[in-house]
């Protein structure tokens, strides 16, 4: 598998140099491996920190900027960041109003953020953590590590970031973040596996005739393998799984997300079908996002994330945002 890299060992560091060169609004601290907004912490504003393994770009560094995250901590490819990164990021964005950690529910992310939060507290920072676990493919949470955090992370970071920008206190920002997570569900489908730079080989085998239903975002296989079907049926499987877990109605925010190797034209094909499936269930697409937002390297596939909107959530979604990957209204 050909990769546009200089070497498997330096992928994350090299990409961070690219982010620094491309986006003067961001400050890349190469030593601590964090990306923060240029200009330092805003006094009185809650600082938003997220992070996770690399390979999901634009998540998370692409969402650092006005109206969204204050800092991101990229780990190695598909490996959660270490506590030192999270502590450095928290200290860099702490403006006296506390820090919110947005954590995707994967064992590694949870443990590293938990250790970091304890050490931040010892250093006198007020930290609240919000766990994102929107993936309905994980059914039996008693016998697993629990539902994974996937596409809803973008919604949580955008909406909580918008509220933080108004000067709302930490408890309020955490409340709205949890509310977005509670009202959101995702389901992903892979048409191909992905290939990590270190291994050079696909993380699992998938024939031309098969798809993997219920994938996560780390190249890990999903809930079941099934025969390849057309976009209408595959989006139907995703919407059925979501609707079964959270009945869909009213105004919804919908993201059809590419896993990294899916052409945009196919994502729009999928979006048309998603909109149809939603209409059949009496839900209305009020806000939407189509494109690569939470990727899995070069995986072909898509995920659908739906959030049941309220007036407050719609208003915060519409609020201005200026990051490398999301920008409007400013």
């Amino acid at each position: 598998m050909k990769k546009l890299i200089n070497g498997a060992g330096s992928v994350v560091a090299d990409a961070l140099r690219g982010i620094a060169a491309a986006h003067p609004g961001l400050r890349v601290d190469a030593e601590n491996r964090i990306v923060v907004r240029a200009g330092g912490p805003s006094p009185g504003k809650v600082g938003l920190v997220s992070g996770g393994g690399s390979g999901h770009e634009p998540l998370h560094a692409g969402f650092v900027g006005y109206g969204m995250l204050d800092a991101a901590c990229p780990g190695e490819v598909f490996t959660s960041p270490v506590p030192d990164q999270v502590i450095a990021a928290s200290a860099a964005v702490h403006g006296g109003a506390g820090v919110l950690h947005v954590v995707k529910n994967y064992t590694g992310d949870v443990l590293n953020f938990q250790l970091a939060a304890e050490l931040c507290a010892e250093e006198g920072m007020e930290v609240t953590s919000v766990l994102v676990d929107d993936d309905v493919a994980v059914r039996d949470s008693l016998h697993t590590a629990g539902r994974r955090g996937t596409g809803a992370t973008v919604f949580v970071e955008k909406i909580a970031g918008a509220l933080a920008e108004t000067g709302a206190p930490l408890a309020e920002v955490a409340r709205v973040a949890r509310e977005v997570n509670t009202r959101s569900r995702s389901f992903g489908v892979a048409l191909s596996a992905c290939t990590t730079p270190a291994s050079g080989k696909p993380t699992f085998e998938l024939s031309e005739a098969e798809v993997e239903l219920g994938i996560g975002i780390h190249g890990e296989p999903g809930r079941a393998r099934a025969p390849m079907r057309d976009a209408r049926e595959l989006t139907g499987v995703a919407l059925d799984a979501i609707h079964e877990d959270l009945p869909l109605s009213g105004d919804v925010l919908v993201m059809v997300n590419g896993m990294g190797g899916t052409p945009l034209i196919e994502l729009y094909v999928a979006f048309a079908e998603v909109a149809g499936h939603l209409a059949e269930r009496g839900a209305r697409v009020a806000r939407s996002l189509v494109g690569d937002y939470v990727t899995s390297l070069d995986m072909q596939g898509f995920s659908v994330t739906v959030c049941l909107l309220t007036d407050e959530l719609t208003r915060l979604w519409d609020a201005p945002v200026e990051t490398p990957a999301l920008r409007w209204g400013r």
């Binding site: 190695e76 994967y106 590293n112 697993t144 590590a145 994974r148 890990e220 809930r223």
Partner: protein
């Protein structure tokens, strides 16, 4: 007693041996992880143990406890993923259990290993049977304690027998029964007086052989289990048939401990 006590040099040698072993098995660990996880376990542990050896060389901690705490902190800081905090916590808790003594006994080592396992269980909320590193670590800690205490692992149904793996005094209830000459081999019950690391350390080596074998067997026993923790748990029944990479690396690290003890 005359048993040779364990110094910081012993623990440093363990970590170096573990680092060599992880390096040698890196690709195999990653291959196991690719089957049911995300294909980075070998790479991550190799990076962590390499850093741990470097940190020990730079800082040269004076006590066994300080060696293990430094190793644990380094793993937490450098590895990431779940294995960094979990192994890091295991080494930190083990190091803290050893306190500040400049030399420790085999029994202290057994208590430290037990403390490390307890730390992993707590942080990971994992129990035996969940298809995690606990499946290798817990039986190893029990085997070491039992072997050093001279307990006999009775078969099921033996009247009044302690449960397998339960630390116990000798069969006759006398903790200082005389050495009976059996030095044990992997997987075998090891008889001997409490803390029976002989003057030449063979007792400790034998006990650690039993621990390493228990870890190996524990790792192998994860093959038919469905994973209930960590990323493999998302596969549910499809994780059956694969050996857990974390249990496999735990067995490697315990084998390294035996290797070092055998030449101590």
């Amino acid at each position: 007693m005359g048993a040779r006590l364990l110094t910081s040099a012993f623990f440093g040698a363990w970590i170096e041996e573990a680092a060599r072993s992880v390096r040698a098995e890196r690709d195999e660990l990653t291959r196991l992880d690719a089957a049911i996880g995300d294909a980075d376990h070998g790479t991550n542990l190799d990076r962590g143990f390499t850093e741990a050896v470097r940190a020990l060389g730079d800082r040269r901690p004076a006590t066994p406890g300080a060696v293990l705490v430094l190793v644990g902190s380094t793993l937490i800081r450098k590895v990431g993923g779940a294995s960094g905090p979990l192994y890091g916590t295991a080494f930190r808790e083990a190091g803290k259990a050893l306190g500040e003594a400049p030399e420790v006994s085999p029994a202290d080592l057994a208590a430290a290993l037990a403390a490390g396992v307890a730390g992993v269980r707590r942080l990971g909320s994992a129990a035996e049977g969940d298809k995690t590193m606990v499946d290798a670590l817990a039986p190893a800690a029990e085997a070491l304690t039992a072997a050093l205490a001279g307990a006999v692992r009775e078969g099921p149904g033996a009247d009044g027998a302690p449960e397998a793996g339960t630390p116990a005094v000798g069969r006759d209830g006398h903790p200082s029964a005389p050495e009976d000459g059996r030095d044990g081999h992997p997987g075998a019950p090891v008889d001997g007086p409490a803390g029976a690391a002989g003057p030449d350390g063979r007792g400790l080596a034998a006990a650690l052989a039993a621990a390493a074998e228990a870890a190996r067997a524990g790792a192998e026993a994860t093959i038919p289990m469905p994973a209930r923790k960590g990323r493999a748990s998302y596969l549910g029944p499809r994780s059956v048939g694969h050996q857990d990479p974390g249990a496999t690396s735990a067995a490697l690290i315990l084998r390294a401990l035996h290797t070092v003890a055998a030449r101590w």
